[in-house]
């Protein structure tokens, strides 16, 4: 009887892993390997693609679109920082001063995201248009030069990115602050810490894992976003996501699109690892554990 029981015991972890493992294999690993393969092919839709180990797909893509890669990471950084600046005070206020209505405030913060993304972006275009309800009065009052515009600029793209990914920053920070034991803060006051010192030495360090999780959840998708640059940007604001999208869907240049995607992925992973190193691995695990 010992044999089968032992076997069962040994099999259990595999069986537990099976659903998630299969899921990852079918929808992540296989497509990823396939794309890696495509990124080294040459060809076109009519004649088909052949595996030629064409590493130049990478160098050519980088030469032509390297500045778009850099811009994507830069916009990603700007939007992530903007998200932290906006999200932290909001999350702080809701967690500590929200009282009975915490969930109401959170809900209000998330409310815009129940409206379709397309509708929100189009309404931005209506409001921010050159001679629209916001800019026209300011121009008439002489506060802005006549040719000032917000749409089709880097500012509009970063603002759009910040706006669209804000909840991904608010929620983890809120969770980190909300979990905090208030008695720890009281203890700090009892030990004659000033308000600033309490924040700097108690609240902020305890909430950093939340910030860390928020950064990962915003920086990665923001850097590869293409919708905001498409709708709110001009010719000087193209992000790498737009290039990949165009290469894949409009030009059917699957090899270039794949090579660019892998380059972006490598850069993002490098960035995240460097960031994790700088903050200490413990925080990464802690953040991942939440």
């Amino acid at each position: 009887m010992r044999g089968p029981a032992r076997l069962k015991q040994r099999l259990t972890p595999y069986l537990l892993m099976l659903p998630a493992g299969l899921w990852l294999l079918v929808f992540f690993a296989i497509p990823l390997i396939y794309m890696a393969s495509v990124s080294l092919m040459t060809g076109n839709l009519i004649d088909g693609w052949k595996q030629t180990w064409h590493w130049r797909n990478y160098t050519e893509g980088f030469e032509l679109y390297g500045d778009k890669l850099a811009r994507s990471l830069w916009y990603g950084l700007l939007a992530t920082v903007a998200c932290i600046v906006l999200a932290y005070p909001a999350a702080y206020w809701i967690a500590f001063k929200g009282g009975r209505h915490k969930s109401t405030w959170l809900f209000m913060l998330l409310l815009p995201f129940f409206v379709s993304f397309v509708l929100r972006t189009i309404s931005w275009k209506l409001v921010l248009t050159d001679n629209g309800p916001v800019l026209k009065p300011l121009k008439n009052a002489g506060l802005l030069p006549d040719d000032f515009h917000v749409l089709d600029s880097g500012f509009a793209v970063v603002s759009g990115l910040t706006y669209n990914f804000l909840p991904f920053m608010v929620l983890p920070i809120y969770v980190a602050l909300e979990r905090m034991d208030y008695r720890v803060i009281e203890a700090a006051y009892d030990l004659y810490a000033s308000r600033l010192a309490v924040f700097r030495r108690v609240v902020l360090p305890l909430s950093l894992p939340g910030v860390f999780a928020g950064v990962i959840m915003t920086f990665v998708p923001v850097s590869s976003d293409y919708v905001n640059a498409q709708v709110l940007g001009g010719p000087g604001n193209t992000m790498i996501g737009n290039v990949v999208q165009a290469e894949y869907f409009t030009n059917s240049n699957y090899h270039t699109a794949s090579a660019l995607s892998f380059t972006l992925m490598a850069l993002l992973l490098l960035g995240i690892f460097a960031y994790a190193r700088a903050l200490g691995t413990k925080d990464v695990l802690e953040a991942a554990g939440r």
């Binding site: 009519i46 001009g234 030009n251």
Partner: protein, 414 residues
């Protein structure tokens, strides 16, 4: 209920379990590496080209056993149907075929990207009829065998009423897969509230005076043609050297920040609101979609003449209904009603007398509109008008790759 305390209760790992993990890891690593090597070396993606020729037997085979189903899903561009969908209502009333009409096409390349994967996999795209411009994408759709071959025995009105220029075009010999919906001209639209000079030339799109106020199109063939007009080359006879020169000119225009944005169909909104003051534009849109301040001109260097084509994807669920509609639209009386709204070049020249008759019956502003329409060179162009216009160059696969490499990065800012 304090979460952190739970961590101390976490089960300690059984040593046997740990040993298992190392072998498991080894197995996974081996499996992953071999799968990756296998896949990376895979021989490629087969080509699908060379399917652009059909014979009668193939046509019969496609249509055999297919019959009218009483419904139809139609994908079209904005501004191509009356706001109240009067033409569709009339069609439904006469034939009993219900039409689900969607304005989902904004740009030929983008649309091709959307439908390519399902059509390659022989899956439905949810539409039985779609309208795509002649050019790179239509050539590919034909070449890749994504379109249903047309049964011309059921397109008698097309044979009878289509203008000779609209039959048997070089990009689709014998109209084997497509028949025209409308033709149109790409020229310049400008908002007279902001532009005080008269716009007559493509050179004005490159004038630094309009810095940040110029719209160009993102479609590489539209953009490329205007670049070539600007350097005095004939797009139809252009060479790769002309493309390079045109691209340089277009890059200059972009880098001097003259171009505000590269647009799909949405330029019309931008020029109406004044975000751009002058922009590349399609003739009929200006009449049917823009405000009265917006004027359309064909520049003196020339404009692009294109044709939007009706076609049936090979996976259509209701192809007979689609064919019925295609033929029905070639009835001059029906087509005249549609033309009166959309203001594009109709493939049915006989509509002109119906438009003139409608003008005689109408009053006031409507009458003036219809009279203008019946005389408009943008709806009924004369041969002299057409001589000024150029179409897209028909490109081979090899040429197309080169062409796209030259013009596509401009829109992406490279």
């Amino acid at each position: 209920m304090n979460a952190p305390h739970l961590e101390s209760n976490a089960p300690r790992l059984d040593p046997a379990f740990r040993r298992g993990m190392t072998t498991r890891r080894g197995a996974l690593r081996l499996f992953g590496a071999s799968a990756a090597a296998l896949a990376l070396g895979a021989c490629g993606i087969p080509g699908q080209g060379g399917r652009g020729k059909v014979n009668q037997a193939q046509i019969d085979a496609f249509w055999k056993g297919k019959s009218r189903r009483g419904r139809l899903n139609w994908a079209n561009w904005p501004g191509y149907m009356e706001d109240d969908r009067a033409t569709i209502k009339a069609f439904t009333k006469e034939t009993g075929i219900r039409v689900d009409y969607k304005e989902v096409i904004q740009e030929a390349a983008e649309w091709f990207g959307k439908v390519q994967a399902p059509l390659a996999a022989n899956q439905s795209i949810g539409f039985d009829l779609m309208v795509v411009t002649n050019g790179i994408q239509t050539t590919k759709l034909i070449e890749l065998g994504y379109l249903a071959p047309l049964d011309h025995r059921r397109l008698t009105r097309f044979a009878e009423h289509a203008g000779s220029r609209f039959q048997n075009p070089p990009y689709d010999p014998g109209n084997a897969f497509t028949i025209p919906y409308v033709s149109g001209v790409t020229g310049i639209a400008y908002n007279t509230k902001y532009v005080k000079d008269e716009i007559t030339s493509i050179a004005q799109l490159f004038d630094p005076r309009y810095k940040g106020r110029v719209g160009m199109m993102s479609d590489s063939q539209e953009l490329g043609n205007f670049g070539m007009f600007a350097i005095g080359a004939d797009p139809e006879k252009s060479t790769p050297r002309d493309w390079e020169n045109a691209a340089r000119k277009l890059r200059e225009q972009r880098d001097q920040k003259i171009v505000r944005k590269y647009y799909e169909q949405n330029y019309i909104d931008a020029v109406t609101k004044g975000d751009v003051w002058l922009t590349m534009a399609w003739s009929g849109d200006v009449y049917s979609l823009a405000s009265d301040d917006v004027k359309f001109v064909v520049p003196r260097e020339g404009g692009t003449l294109w044709t939007d084509l009706m076609m049936i994807p090979k996976t259509a669920a209701n192809p007979v209904d689609a064919l019925t509609l295609m033929d029905w639209l070639y009835d001059p009386r029906r087509n005249a009603t549609l033309t009166e709204f959309i203001n594009y070049v109709t493939p049915v020249p006989e509509t002109r007398k119906f438009v003139a008759a409608d003008a005689a019956e109408a009053k006031g502003e409507d009458r003036a509109d219809l009279e203008r329409l019946s005389r408009s060179p943008l709806v009924y162009p004369s041969d002299a008008d057409l001589a000024k216009l150029r179409t897209y160059r028909v490109l081979t696969q090899q040429e197309e790759t080169g062409y796209q490499k030259v013009f596509q990065p401009i829109v992406q800012g490279s």
